[in-house]
Protein backbone atom coordinates (compact mmCIF):
# COMPACT_ATOMS: atom_id res chain seq x y z
CA UNK A 1 0.00 0.00 0.00
CA UNK A 2 1.19 3.47 -0.80
CA UNK A 3 2.46 5.76 1.89
CA UNK A 4 0.04 8.22 3.44
CA UNK A 5 1.12 11.74 2.58
CA UNK A 6 -1.54 13.62 4.43
CA UNK A 7 -3.88 12.34 7.10
CA UNK A 8 -6.66 14.51 8.40
CA UNK A 9 -8.41 13.29 11.54
CA UNK A 10 -11.69 14.66 12.87
CA UNK A 11 -10.81 18.16 11.73
CA UNK A 12 -13.19 20.86 12.91
CA UNK A 13 -13.12 24.58 12.36
CA UNK A 14 -15.78 26.72 13.97
CA UNK A 15 -16.00 30.46 13.71
CA UNK A 16 -17.79 32.61 16.25
CA UNK A 17 -20.75 34.16 14.49
CA UNK A 18 -20.46 37.25 16.67
CA UNK A 19 -17.13 38.92 17.29
CA UNK A 20 -15.91 40.92 20.23
CA UNK A 21 -14.83 40.43 23.79
CA UNK A 22 -17.55 38.08 25.03
CA UNK A 23 -18.23 36.06 21.93
CA UNK A 24 -14.97 34.17 21.67
CA UNK A 25 -14.57 30.74 20.20
CA UNK A 26 -14.69 28.96 23.55
CA UNK A 27 -16.89 31.47 25.36
CA UNK A 28 -20.19 30.59 26.96
CA UNK A 29 -22.13 33.16 25.00
CA UNK A 30 -20.83 31.87 21.72
CA UNK A 31 -22.32 28.39 22.03
CA UNK A 32 -25.57 29.34 20.39
CA UNK A 33 -23.94 31.17 17.48
CA UNK A 34 -21.08 29.23 15.97
CA UNK A 35 -20.49 28.78 12.26
CA UNK A 36 -19.65 25.12 11.68
CA UNK A 37 -17.48 25.75 8.63
CA UNK A 38 -15.65 22.42 8.81
CA UNK A 39 -17.29 19.85 11.03
CA UNK A 40 -15.50 16.59 11.66
CA UNK A 41 -13.64 15.89 8.44
CA UNK A 42 -11.30 12.92 8.12
CA UNK A 43 -9.52 11.60 5.06
CA UNK A 44 -6.22 10.20 3.86
CA UNK A 45 -4.21 11.32 0.89
CA UNK A 46 -1.76 8.73 -0.42
CA UNK A 47 1.48 9.42 -2.21
CA UNK A 48 1.08 9.90 -5.96
CA UNK A 49 -2.61 10.40 -5.61
CA UNK A 50 -4.76 13.41 -6.31
CA UNK A 51 -7.81 14.13 -4.27
CA UNK A 52 -10.74 16.30 -5.31
CA UNK A 53 -13.17 18.00 -3.02
CA UNK A 54 -16.53 19.14 -4.43
CA UNK A 55 -19.48 20.82 -2.85
CA UNK A 56 -21.79 23.78 -3.12
CA UNK A 57 -20.67 27.31 -2.36
CA UNK A 58 -20.43 27.81 1.37
CA UNK A 59 -20.03 24.15 2.28
CA UNK A 60 -16.63 24.78 3.84
CA UNK A 61 -14.32 23.69 1.01
CA UNK A 62 -12.10 26.74 1.16
CA UNK A 63 -12.05 26.79 4.94
CA UNK A 64 -11.00 23.16 4.86
CA UNK A 65 -8.13 24.05 2.52
CA UNK A 66 -7.03 26.96 4.67
CA UNK A 67 -7.25 24.85 7.82
CA UNK A 68 -5.22 22.00 6.32
CA UNK A 69 -2.46 24.53 5.64
CA UNK A 70 -2.97 25.92 9.14
CA UNK A 71 -3.88 29.39 7.98
CA UNK A 72 -6.60 28.95 10.57
CA UNK A 73 -5.98 27.16 13.82
CA UNK A 74 -8.21 24.08 13.87
CA UNK A 75 -10.85 24.08 16.60
CA UNK A 76 -10.40 20.35 16.97
CA UNK A 77 -8.65 17.49 15.23
CA UNK A 78 -5.24 16.54 13.95
CA UNK A 79 -3.39 16.80 10.67
CA UNK A 80 -0.46 14.53 9.88
CA UNK A 81 2.04 15.14 7.10
CA UNK A 82 4.10 11.97 6.55
CA UNK A 83 3.11 10.70 10.02
CA UNK A 84 4.26 13.95 11.59
CA UNK A 85 1.57 15.82 13.42
CA UNK A 86 1.69 19.36 12.07
CA UNK A 87 -1.09 20.70 14.26
CA UNK A 88 1.27 20.56 17.24
CA UNK A 89 4.31 22.21 15.65
CA UNK A 90 5.71 25.46 16.99
CA UNK A 91 5.39 28.40 14.64
CA UNK A 92 9.11 28.19 13.85
CA UNK A 93 8.94 24.46 12.99
CA UNK A 94 5.82 25.08 10.98
CA UNK A 95 7.51 27.85 9.00
CA UNK A 96 10.29 25.45 8.07
CA UNK A 97 7.71 22.95 6.83
CA UNK A 98 5.71 25.53 4.84
CA UNK A 99 7.64 25.22 1.56
CA UNK A 100 6.47 21.59 1.30
CA UNK A 101 2.80 22.56 1.49
CA UNK A 102 1.60 25.15 -0.99
CA UNK A 103 -1.61 26.52 -2.35
CA UNK A 104 -2.98 28.16 -5.49
CA UNK A 105 -5.83 30.53 -4.85
CA UNK A 106 -9.08 31.10 -6.63
CA UNK A 107 -8.77 34.76 -7.54
CA UNK A 108 -5.66 35.56 -9.58
CA UNK A 109 -6.37 39.27 -9.09
CA UNK A 110 -6.02 39.40 -5.34
CA UNK A 111 -3.50 36.59 -4.99
CA UNK A 112 -0.64 38.72 -6.35
CA UNK A 113 0.60 41.81 -4.54
CA UNK A 114 -0.10 44.68 -6.98
CA UNK A 115 3.06 46.51 -5.88
CA UNK A 116 5.53 43.72 -6.57
CA UNK A 117 7.11 42.66 -9.84
CA UNK A 118 6.48 39.15 -11.09
CA UNK A 119 10.08 38.13 -10.42
CA UNK A 120 9.80 39.18 -6.77
CA UNK A 121 6.44 37.49 -6.36
CA UNK A 122 7.73 34.20 -7.73
CA UNK A 123 11.02 34.42 -5.83
CA UNK A 124 9.43 35.18 -2.47
CA UNK A 125 8.84 31.64 -1.14
CA UNK A 126 12.18 30.36 -2.44
CA UNK A 127 14.26 33.22 -1.05
CA UNK A 128 13.32 32.05 2.43
CA UNK A 129 15.06 28.71 2.03
CA UNK A 130 17.65 29.55 -0.63
CA UNK A 131 19.94 32.34 0.49
CA UNK A 132 22.09 32.42 -2.64
CA UNK A 133 20.55 35.20 -4.73
CA UNK A 134 22.00 33.89 -8.00
CA UNK A 135 20.41 30.48 -7.51
CA UNK A 136 17.08 32.10 -6.74
CA UNK A 137 17.14 34.17 -9.95
CA UNK A 138 18.12 31.13 -12.00
CA UNK A 139 15.32 29.08 -10.53
CA UNK A 140 12.78 31.87 -11.07
CA UNK A 141 13.80 32.05 -14.75
CA UNK A 142 13.52 28.31 -15.12
CA UNK A 143 10.11 28.09 -13.50
CA UNK A 144 8.57 31.03 -15.37
CA UNK A 145 9.25 29.25 -18.65
CA UNK A 146 7.88 26.02 -17.23
CA UNK A 147 4.53 27.66 -16.47
CA UNK A 148 4.30 28.94 -20.04
CA UNK A 149 5.39 32.55 -19.62
CA UNK A 150 8.45 34.29 -21.01
CA UNK A 151 11.36 35.87 -19.22
CA UNK A 152 10.16 39.32 -20.23
CA UNK A 153 7.13 38.82 -17.98
CA UNK A 154 9.41 38.82 -14.95
CA UNK A 155 9.81 42.58 -15.04
CA UNK A 156 6.09 43.25 -15.20
CA UNK A 157 3.56 44.11 -12.54
CA UNK A 158 0.45 41.95 -12.03
CA UNK A 159 -1.90 44.53 -13.55
CA UNK A 160 0.00 44.24 -16.83
CA UNK A 161 -0.94 40.55 -17.13
CA UNK A 162 -4.14 38.78 -18.14
CA UNK A 163 -6.06 36.61 -15.70
CA UNK A 164 -4.59 33.44 -17.18
CA UNK A 165 -1.06 34.82 -17.00
CA UNK A 166 -1.59 35.86 -13.42
CA UNK A 167 -2.74 32.39 -12.52
CA UNK A 168 0.41 31.03 -14.15
CA UNK A 169 2.45 33.36 -11.96
CA UNK A 170 0.55 32.13 -8.90
CA UNK A 171 1.28 28.54 -9.94
CA UNK A 172 4.95 29.36 -10.45
CA UNK A 173 5.07 30.81 -6.95
CA UNK A 174 3.47 27.73 -5.45
CA UNK A 175 5.76 25.17 -7.08
CA UNK A 176 9.11 26.97 -6.90
CA UNK A 177 9.94 25.39 -3.55
CA UNK A 178 9.31 21.85 -4.86
CA UNK A 179 6.34 21.20 -2.60
CA UNK A 180 4.97 17.71 -1.91
CA UNK A 181 1.39 18.94 -1.67
CA UNK A 182 -0.32 21.75 -3.57
CA UNK A 183 -3.88 22.64 -2.73
CA UNK A 184 -5.73 24.10 -5.70
CA UNK A 185 -8.59 26.18 -4.37
CA UNK A 186 -10.88 26.77 -7.35
CA UNK A 187 -7.84 27.30 -9.57
CA UNK A 188 -9.84 28.01 -12.71
CA UNK A 189 -13.15 29.50 -11.58
CA UNK A 190 -12.05 33.05 -12.39
CA UNK A 191 -10.84 32.16 -15.88
CA UNK A 192 -12.62 31.78 -19.19
CA UNK A 193 -13.18 28.32 -20.57
CA UNK A 194 -10.27 28.10 -23.00
CA UNK A 195 -7.84 29.38 -20.39
CA UNK A 196 -9.27 26.93 -17.86
CA UNK A 197 -8.27 24.01 -20.01
CA UNK A 198 -4.77 25.41 -20.54
CA UNK A 199 -4.25 25.91 -16.82
CA UNK A 200 -5.51 22.42 -15.95
CA UNK A 201 -3.23 20.85 -18.55
CA UNK A 202 -0.35 22.94 -17.28
CA UNK A 203 -0.98 21.69 -13.76
CA UNK A 204 -0.96 18.10 -15.03
CA UNK A 205 2.28 18.61 -16.96
CA UNK A 206 3.93 20.19 -13.94
CA UNK A 207 2.87 17.25 -11.84
CA UNK A 208 4.56 14.83 -14.22
CA UNK A 209 7.76 16.84 -13.99
CA UNK A 210 7.90 17.74 -10.32
CA UNK A 211 5.84 14.94 -8.78
CA UNK A 212 3.71 16.85 -6.32
CA UNK A 213 0.25 15.84 -5.13
CA UNK A 214 -2.80 17.95 -5.71
CA UNK A 215 -5.88 18.46 -3.66
CA UNK A 216 -8.29 20.18 -6.05
CA UNK A 217 -11.19 22.04 -4.57
CA UNK A 218 -14.03 23.25 -6.73
CA UNK A 219 -17.76 23.45 -7.15
CA UNK A 220 -17.13 22.43 -10.74
CA UNK A 221 -17.30 18.64 -10.91
CA UNK A 222 -15.72 18.39 -14.34
CA UNK A 223 -12.64 20.30 -13.14
CA UNK A 224 -12.30 18.13 -10.07
CA UNK A 225 -12.86 14.87 -11.91
CA UNK A 226 -10.26 15.81 -14.52
CA UNK A 227 -7.71 16.55 -11.83
CA UNK A 228 -8.32 13.81 -9.28
CA UNK A 229 -8.07 10.06 -8.72
CA UNK A 230 -10.50 10.18 -5.83
CA UNK A 231 -13.27 12.62 -5.00
CA UNK A 232 -14.69 13.65 -1.66
CA UNK A 233 -18.14 15.26 -1.66
CA UNK A 234 -18.71 17.85 1.03
CA UNK A 235 -22.01 19.05 2.39
CA UNK A 236 -22.32 21.63 5.17
CA UNK A 237 -18.82 21.13 6.53
CA UNK A 238 -18.86 17.34 6.36
CA UNK A 239 -17.71 14.75 3.88
CA UNK A 240 -20.71 12.66 2.79
CA UNK A 241 -19.02 10.40 0.28
CA UNK A 242 -15.49 9.53 -0.88
CA UNK A 243 -14.72 7.27 -3.79
CA UNK A 244 -12.78 6.69 -6.98
CA UNK A 245 -13.53 9.45 -9.44
CA UNK A 246 -15.17 7.52 -12.28
CA UNK A 247 -17.01 5.18 -9.96
CA UNK A 248 -18.41 8.04 -7.92
CA UNK A 249 -19.54 10.02 -10.91
CA UNK A 250 -21.21 7.12 -12.68
CA UNK A 251 -22.72 5.42 -9.64
CA UNK A 252 -23.18 7.96 -6.85
CA UNK A 253 -24.46 6.34 -3.66
CA UNK A 254 -25.23 9.20 -1.29
CA UNK A 255 -28.48 11.03 -2.16
CA UNK A 256 -26.64 14.37 -2.13
CA UNK A 257 -23.99 13.09 -4.53
CA UNK A 258 -26.76 11.82 -6.79
CA UNK A 259 -28.36 15.26 -6.88
CA UNK A 260 -24.99 16.92 -7.40
CA UNK A 261 -24.07 14.64 -10.31
CA UNK A 262 -27.57 15.02 -11.73
CA UNK A 263 -27.16 18.78 -11.74
CA UNK A 264 -24.28 18.71 -14.22
CA UNK A 265 -25.72 20.21 -17.36
CA UNK A 266 -25.25 17.80 -20.26
CA UNK A 267 -26.07 18.61 -23.85
CA UNK A 268 -28.42 15.66 -24.07
CA UNK A 269 -32.16 16.33 -23.83
CA UNK A 270 -32.94 12.63 -23.35
CA UNK A 271 -31.14 12.55 -20.04
CA UNK A 272 -33.78 14.68 -18.34
CA UNK A 273 -34.93 11.67 -16.30
CA UNK A 274 -31.57 11.60 -14.58
CA UNK A 275 -32.14 14.96 -12.94
CA UNK A 276 -33.48 15.10 -9.45
CA UNK A 277 -35.27 18.01 -7.93
CA UNK A 278 -33.40 19.66 -5.06
CA UNK A 279 -35.67 20.63 -2.20
CA UNK A 280 -35.07 23.97 -0.53
CA UNK A 281 -31.92 25.89 0.25
CA UNK A 282 -28.71 24.87 2.00
CA UNK A 283 -29.35 25.28 5.75
CA UNK A 284 -27.26 27.89 7.55
CA UNK A 285 -24.00 26.53 8.96
CA UNK A 286 -24.93 28.23 12.25
CA UNK A 287 -27.99 26.03 12.82
CA UNK A 288 -27.04 22.58 11.62
CA UNK A 289 -30.06 20.25 11.24
CA UNK A 290 -30.29 17.40 13.73
CA UNK A 291 -29.39 13.89 12.64
CA UNK A 292 -28.23 13.68 9.07
CA UNK A 293 -27.54 17.24 8.00
CA UNK A 294 -28.96 16.54 4.57
CA UNK A 295 -32.33 15.15 5.72
CA UNK A 296 -34.44 18.33 5.22
CA UNK A 297 -33.55 18.28 1.53
CA UNK A 298 -33.24 14.56 0.98
CA UNK A 299 -35.94 12.90 -1.13
CA UNK A 300 -35.36 9.55 0.66
CA UNK A 301 -35.32 10.89 4.23
CA UNK A 302 -36.86 8.72 6.93
CA UNK A 303 -37.42 8.99 10.66
CA UNK A 304 -33.93 7.69 11.52
CA UNK A 305 -32.30 10.45 9.47
CA UNK A 306 -33.80 13.14 11.70
CA UNK A 307 -32.49 11.52 14.87
CA UNK A 308 -29.07 10.03 14.38
CA UNK A 309 -26.16 11.44 12.41
CA UNK A 310 -24.72 8.89 9.97
CA UNK A 311 -20.96 8.34 9.95
CA UNK A 312 -18.83 7.45 6.98
CA UNK A 313 -18.95 3.70 6.47
CA UNK A 314 -17.35 1.48 3.90
CA UNK A 315 -19.64 0.26 1.15
CA UNK A 316 -18.06 -1.46 -1.86
CA UNK A 317 -14.68 0.27 -1.86
CA UNK A 318 -16.27 3.56 -1.00
CA UNK A 319 -17.06 5.63 2.09
CA UNK A 320 -20.62 6.90 2.39
CA UNK A 321 -22.35 8.69 5.24
CA UNK A 322 -25.97 7.64 4.81
CA UNK A 323 -28.26 5.30 6.76
CA UNK A 324 -30.24 4.26 3.76
CA UNK A 325 -27.67 3.41 1.09
CA UNK A 326 -28.72 -0.24 0.83
CA UNK A 327 -32.40 0.63 0.77
CA UNK A 328 -31.93 3.19 -1.98
CA UNK A 329 -29.80 0.76 -4.00
CA UNK A 330 -32.57 -1.85 -3.94
CA UNK A 331 -35.34 0.45 -5.11
Amino acid sequence: MAKVLLRVENLKKYFPAKGGLFYTEKGILAKASVIHAVDDVSFNLFENENLGIVGESGCGKSTLAATILLLYKPTFGKIYFYDKEITQLSSEELRRLRPKLQMVFQDPYSSLNPRMRVKDIVAEPLSLIEKNKYNVTQKVREIIVKVGLREEHLERYPHELSAGQRQRVAIARSIITNPKLVILDEPTSALDVSTQAQILNLLKDLQKEYGMNYISISHNISVVSYMSDRIAVMYLGKIVEIGKTEDLIIRPKHPYTKILMGSIPLPDPKRRDYMMEVIGETPSPVNIPTGCRFHPRCPYAKEICKVSEPNLREIEDRLVACHLVEEIEKS
Partner: protein, 286 residues
Protein backbone atom coordinates in the same frame (compact mmCIF):
# COMPACT_ATOMS: atom_id res chain seq x y z
CA UNK B 1 -33.29 64.67 -26.52
CA UNK B 2 -33.38 68.19 -25.19
CA UNK B 3 -33.20 67.02 -21.60
CA UNK B 4 -30.18 64.82 -22.25
CA UNK B 5 -28.26 67.58 -23.95
CA UNK B 6 -29.17 69.85 -21.08
CA UNK B 7 -27.91 67.24 -18.65
CA UNK B 8 -24.75 66.81 -20.67
CA UNK B 9 -24.21 70.52 -20.50
CA UNK B 10 -24.71 70.53 -16.75
CA UNK B 11 -22.18 67.73 -16.32
CA UNK B 12 -19.74 69.56 -18.56
CA UNK B 13 -20.22 72.73 -16.56
CA UNK B 14 -19.67 70.88 -13.33
CA UNK B 15 -16.54 69.26 -14.73
CA UNK B 16 -15.18 72.61 -15.84
CA UNK B 17 -15.95 74.16 -12.48
CA UNK B 18 -14.29 71.28 -10.69
CA UNK B 19 -11.35 71.54 -13.03
CA UNK B 20 -10.95 75.26 -12.37
CA UNK B 21 -11.08 74.64 -8.64
CA UNK B 22 -8.47 71.89 -8.93
CA UNK B 23 -6.22 74.17 -10.95
CA UNK B 24 -6.67 76.98 -8.43
CA UNK B 25 -5.72 74.59 -5.63
CA UNK B 26 -2.66 73.31 -7.45
CA UNK B 27 -1.57 76.87 -8.34
CA UNK B 28 -1.89 78.09 -4.75
CA UNK B 29 -0.02 75.11 -3.33
CA UNK B 30 2.79 75.30 -5.89
CA UNK B 31 3.09 79.04 -5.32
CA UNK B 32 3.33 78.42 -1.57
CA UNK B 33 5.89 75.64 -1.91
CA UNK B 34 8.02 77.48 -4.50
CA UNK B 35 8.01 80.71 -2.47
CA UNK B 36 8.90 78.84 0.71
CA UNK B 37 11.79 77.06 -0.96
CA UNK B 38 12.96 80.27 -2.63
CA UNK B 39 12.90 82.22 0.63
CA UNK B 40 14.47 79.41 2.58
CA UNK B 41 17.28 78.87 0.09
CA UNK B 42 18.13 82.44 -0.99
CA UNK B 43 16.87 84.43 1.97
CA UNK B 44 15.92 87.17 -0.51
CA UNK B 45 13.11 89.43 0.74
CA UNK B 46 12.09 92.99 -0.25
CA UNK B 47 12.72 94.28 3.27
CA UNK B 48 14.21 92.86 6.44
CA UNK B 49 11.10 91.30 8.01
CA UNK B 50 12.25 92.14 11.54
CA UNK B 51 13.47 95.70 10.94
CA UNK B 52 11.53 98.10 13.16
CA UNK B 53 10.98 101.57 11.67
CA UNK B 54 8.58 103.80 13.56
CA UNK B 55 8.67 106.39 10.71
CA UNK B 56 6.65 104.13 8.41
CA UNK B 57 4.31 102.48 10.90
CA UNK B 58 0.81 101.38 9.83
CA UNK B 59 1.20 102.45 6.19
CA UNK B 60 -1.62 101.19 3.93
CA UNK B 61 -0.85 98.82 1.03
CA UNK B 62 1.02 100.62 -1.77
CA UNK B 63 3.60 99.86 -4.45
CA UNK B 64 6.50 100.08 -2.04
CA UNK B 65 4.69 98.02 0.63
CA UNK B 66 2.19 95.76 -1.22
CA UNK B 67 0.61 94.46 2.03
CA UNK B 68 1.23 97.65 4.03
CA UNK B 69 3.23 97.86 7.26
CA UNK B 70 2.41 96.88 10.83
CA UNK B 71 2.44 98.80 14.13
CA UNK B 72 6.21 98.57 14.36
CA UNK B 73 6.72 99.70 10.79
CA UNK B 74 7.72 96.26 9.54
CA UNK B 75 6.85 95.37 5.94
CA UNK B 76 3.97 92.87 6.11
CA UNK B 77 4.73 91.42 2.66
CA UNK B 78 8.26 90.51 3.73
CA UNK B 79 7.00 89.09 7.00
CA UNK B 80 4.38 86.95 5.23
CA UNK B 81 7.07 85.62 2.90
CA UNK B 82 9.52 85.02 5.73
CA UNK B 83 6.91 82.94 7.58
CA UNK B 84 6.14 80.71 4.57
CA UNK B 85 9.04 78.25 4.97
CA UNK B 86 8.24 77.91 8.65
CA UNK B 87 4.65 76.85 7.98
CA UNK B 88 5.75 74.52 5.22
CA UNK B 89 8.25 72.83 7.51
CA UNK B 90 5.71 72.51 10.32
CA UNK B 91 3.04 71.09 8.05
CA UNK B 92 5.41 68.72 6.26
CA UNK B 93 7.07 67.43 9.44
CA UNK B 94 3.81 66.91 11.31
CA UNK B 95 2.11 65.15 8.43
CA UNK B 96 5.04 62.95 7.40
CA UNK B 97 5.97 61.84 10.92
CA UNK B 98 2.29 61.16 11.71
CA UNK B 99 2.11 59.15 8.51
CA UNK B 100 5.09 57.01 9.48
CA UNK B 101 3.96 56.47 13.07
CA UNK B 102 0.43 55.79 11.93
CA UNK B 103 1.57 53.32 9.26
CA UNK B 104 3.62 51.32 11.72
CA UNK B 105 1.12 51.28 14.59
CA UNK B 106 -1.92 50.84 12.34
CA UNK B 107 -0.41 48.04 10.27
CA UNK B 108 0.79 46.14 13.32
CA UNK B 109 -2.58 46.54 15.06
CA UNK B 110 -4.55 45.57 11.96
CA UNK B 111 -2.36 42.64 11.04
CA UNK B 112 -1.95 41.01 14.43
CA UNK B 113 -5.52 41.82 15.53
CA UNK B 114 -6.65 40.44 18.88
CA UNK B 115 -4.88 41.67 21.99
CA UNK B 116 -2.18 43.70 20.22
CA UNK B 117 -4.90 45.48 18.28
CA UNK B 118 -6.96 46.12 21.40
CA UNK B 119 -4.02 47.60 23.31
CA UNK B 120 -2.76 49.80 20.47
CA UNK B 121 -6.21 51.04 19.53
CA UNK B 122 -7.21 51.85 23.11
CA UNK B 123 -4.06 53.97 23.41
CA UNK B 124 -5.00 55.67 20.13
CA UNK B 125 -8.54 56.22 21.38
CA UNK B 126 -7.25 58.04 24.46
CA UNK B 127 -5.72 60.66 22.18
CA UNK B 128 -8.77 60.78 19.93
CA UNK B 129 -11.08 61.25 22.91
CA UNK B 130 -9.97 64.87 23.42
CA UNK B 131 -11.04 67.71 21.17
CA UNK B 132 -7.92 67.99 18.99
CA UNK B 133 -7.37 71.72 19.33
CA UNK B 134 -7.72 71.70 23.11
CA UNK B 135 -5.32 68.77 23.40
CA UNK B 136 -2.80 70.56 21.17
CA UNK B 137 -3.08 73.75 23.22
CA UNK B 138 -2.73 71.84 26.48
CA UNK B 139 0.37 70.01 25.27
CA UNK B 140 1.88 73.18 23.82
CA UNK B 141 1.29 75.07 27.08
CA UNK B 142 2.86 72.24 29.06
CA UNK B 143 5.89 72.08 26.77
CA UNK B 144 6.39 75.82 26.47
CA UNK B 145 6.96 78.04 23.44
CA UNK B 146 9.07 77.23 20.39
CA UNK B 147 8.67 75.74 16.94
CA UNK B 148 9.98 72.31 17.91
CA UNK B 149 7.45 72.16 20.74
CA UNK B 150 4.70 73.32 18.44
CA UNK B 151 5.54 70.44 16.09
CA UNK B 152 5.56 67.98 18.97
CA UNK B 153 2.20 69.25 20.25
CA UNK B 154 0.65 68.89 16.80
CA UNK B 155 2.18 65.42 16.33
CA UNK B 156 0.53 64.19 19.51
CA UNK B 157 -2.82 65.26 18.11
CA UNK B 158 -2.16 64.08 14.57
CA UNK B 159 -0.80 60.51 14.61
CA UNK B 160 -3.91 58.75 16.00
CA UNK B 161 -5.99 59.54 12.91
CA UNK B 162 -3.32 58.03 10.67
CA UNK B 163 -2.97 54.90 12.75
CA UNK B 164 -6.74 54.44 12.67
CA UNK B 165 -6.76 54.74 8.89
CA UNK B 166 -3.75 52.48 8.45
CA UNK B 167 -5.39 49.89 10.67
CA UNK B 168 -8.59 49.91 8.63
CA UNK B 169 -6.59 49.45 5.46
CA UNK B 170 -4.40 46.73 6.99
CA UNK B 171 -7.49 44.83 8.13
CA UNK B 172 -8.76 44.56 4.58
CA UNK B 173 -5.37 43.86 2.98
CA UNK B 174 -4.70 41.14 5.54
CA UNK B 175 -7.61 39.15 4.12
CA UNK B 176 -6.38 39.32 0.54
CA UNK B 177 -4.99 36.19 -1.00
CA UNK B 178 -1.50 37.53 -1.55
CA UNK B 179 -1.04 37.90 2.21
CA UNK B 180 -2.35 34.36 2.70
CA UNK B 181 0.04 33.17 0.02
CA UNK B 182 2.90 34.90 1.82
CA UNK B 183 1.90 33.19 5.07
CA UNK B 184 1.76 29.82 3.35
CA UNK B 185 5.21 30.46 1.93
CA UNK B 186 6.43 30.79 5.50
CA UNK B 187 7.16 34.51 5.70
CA UNK B 188 7.12 35.83 9.23
CA UNK B 189 4.67 38.49 10.26
CA UNK B 190 7.12 41.39 10.33
CA UNK B 191 8.21 40.74 6.74
CA UNK B 192 4.59 40.41 5.64
CA UNK B 193 3.79 43.76 7.23
CA UNK B 194 6.81 45.41 5.63
CA UNK B 195 6.52 43.88 2.16
CA UNK B 196 2.79 43.41 1.71
CA UNK B 197 0.73 45.46 4.15
CA UNK B 198 2.57 48.81 4.28
CA UNK B 199 3.19 49.28 0.52
CA UNK B 200 -0.50 48.77 -0.14
CA UNK B 201 -1.62 51.08 2.64
CA UNK B 202 0.66 53.97 1.90
CA UNK B 203 -1.13 55.26 -1.21
CA UNK B 204 -4.47 55.85 0.54
CA UNK B 205 -2.74 57.60 3.40
CA UNK B 206 -0.72 59.80 1.05
CA UNK B 207 -3.88 61.25 -0.46
CA UNK B 208 -5.21 62.04 2.95
CA UNK B 209 -1.87 63.55 3.93
CA UNK B 210 -1.95 66.13 1.14
CA UNK B 211 -5.49 67.06 2.14
CA UNK B 212 -4.25 67.32 5.69
CA UNK B 213 -1.38 69.78 5.17
CA UNK B 214 -3.77 72.73 5.06
CA UNK B 215 -5.37 71.69 8.34
CA UNK B 216 -1.97 71.45 10.03
CA UNK B 217 -1.16 74.99 8.86
CA UNK B 218 -4.48 76.18 10.30
CA UNK B 219 -3.74 74.52 13.63
CA UNK B 220 -0.18 75.86 13.72
CA UNK B 221 -1.53 79.35 13.09
CA UNK B 222 -4.09 78.97 15.88
CA UNK B 223 -1.41 77.88 18.34
CA UNK B 224 0.85 80.76 17.29
CA UNK B 225 -2.08 83.16 17.54
CA UNK B 226 -2.49 82.03 21.14
CA UNK B 227 1.17 82.84 21.76
CA UNK B 228 2.36 79.23 21.62
CA UNK B 229 4.73 78.07 18.94
CA UNK B 230 6.64 80.72 17.03
CA UNK B 231 8.17 83.40 19.23
CA UNK B 232 8.91 87.03 18.29
CA UNK B 233 10.72 88.35 16.37
CA UNK B 234 10.21 85.25 14.16
CA UNK B 235 7.23 86.07 11.98
CA UNK B 236 4.34 83.59 11.81
CA UNK B 237 0.98 84.14 10.14
CA UNK B 238 -1.16 83.36 13.18
CA UNK B 239 1.05 85.50 15.37
CA UNK B 240 0.78 88.38 12.88
CA UNK B 241 -3.02 88.23 13.06
CA UNK B 242 -2.75 88.45 16.84
CA UNK B 243 -0.29 91.35 16.74
CA UNK B 244 -2.42 93.26 14.26
CA UNK B 245 -5.87 92.71 15.71
CA UNK B 246 -5.71 95.68 18.10
CA UNK B 247 -5.19 97.91 15.03
CA UNK B 248 -8.08 96.43 13.08
CA UNK B 249 -9.94 99.77 12.88
CA UNK B 250 -6.99 102.02 11.97
CA UNK B 251 -5.07 99.54 9.84
CA UNK B 252 -7.25 96.63 8.66
CA UNK B 253 -4.46 95.23 6.51
CA UNK B 254 -2.29 94.43 9.48
CA UNK B 255 -4.44 91.51 10.80
CA UNK B 256 -6.59 90.80 7.72
CA UNK B 257 -3.86 90.16 5.16
CA UNK B 258 -1.98 87.48 7.15
CA UNK B 259 -5.40 85.97 7.93
CA UNK B 260 -6.23 85.85 4.23
CA UNK B 261 -2.89 84.19 3.51
CA UNK B 262 -3.70 81.42 6.01
CA UNK B 263 -7.13 81.08 4.46
CA UNK B 264 -5.84 80.77 0.90
CA UNK B 265 -3.07 78.31 1.69
CA UNK B 266 -5.45 76.06 3.65
CA UNK B 267 -8.00 76.36 0.84
CA UNK B 268 -5.34 75.55 -1.74
CA UNK B 269 -4.38 72.32 0.00
CA UNK B 270 -8.01 71.30 0.34
CA UNK B 271 -8.77 71.93 -3.32
CA UNK B 272 -5.66 70.06 -4.37
CA UNK B 273 -6.54 67.16 -2.05
CA UNK B 274 -9.99 66.99 -3.65
CA UNK B 275 -8.42 66.99 -7.08
CA UNK B 276 -6.03 64.18 -6.18
CA UNK B 277 -8.86 62.14 -4.71
CA UNK B 278 -10.95 62.63 -7.83
CA UNK B 279 -8.10 61.60 -10.07
CA UNK B 280 -7.31 58.47 -8.08
CA UNK B 281 -10.87 57.43 -7.33
CA UNK B 282 -12.65 56.45 -10.53
CA UNK B 283 -16.02 56.46 -8.77
CA UNK B 284 -15.91 60.26 -8.65
CA UNK B 285 -15.14 60.44 -12.34
CA UNK B 286 -17.94 61.38 -14.60
Amino acid sequence: MISTTKQDMLITLRLIRKNILSIVGIVIVSLFVVTSLFVALTGMLPYDPNEINMQRRLLPPSFTHPFGTDHLGRDIFSRVLAAAPLDLIVAFTVVSISLIIGLIIGSVAGYYAGKVDQILMRITDVFLAFPPLILAVAVAVALGAGIDKLILALLIVWWPIYSRMARASALSIKESFFVKAAKISGLNSLIIIRKHIIPNTVSTLLIYATLDMGTVILYASVLSYLGLGAQPPQSEWGRMVFDGQSYLIQAWWSPIIPGLVIFFVALGFNLMGDAIRDILDPRYRR
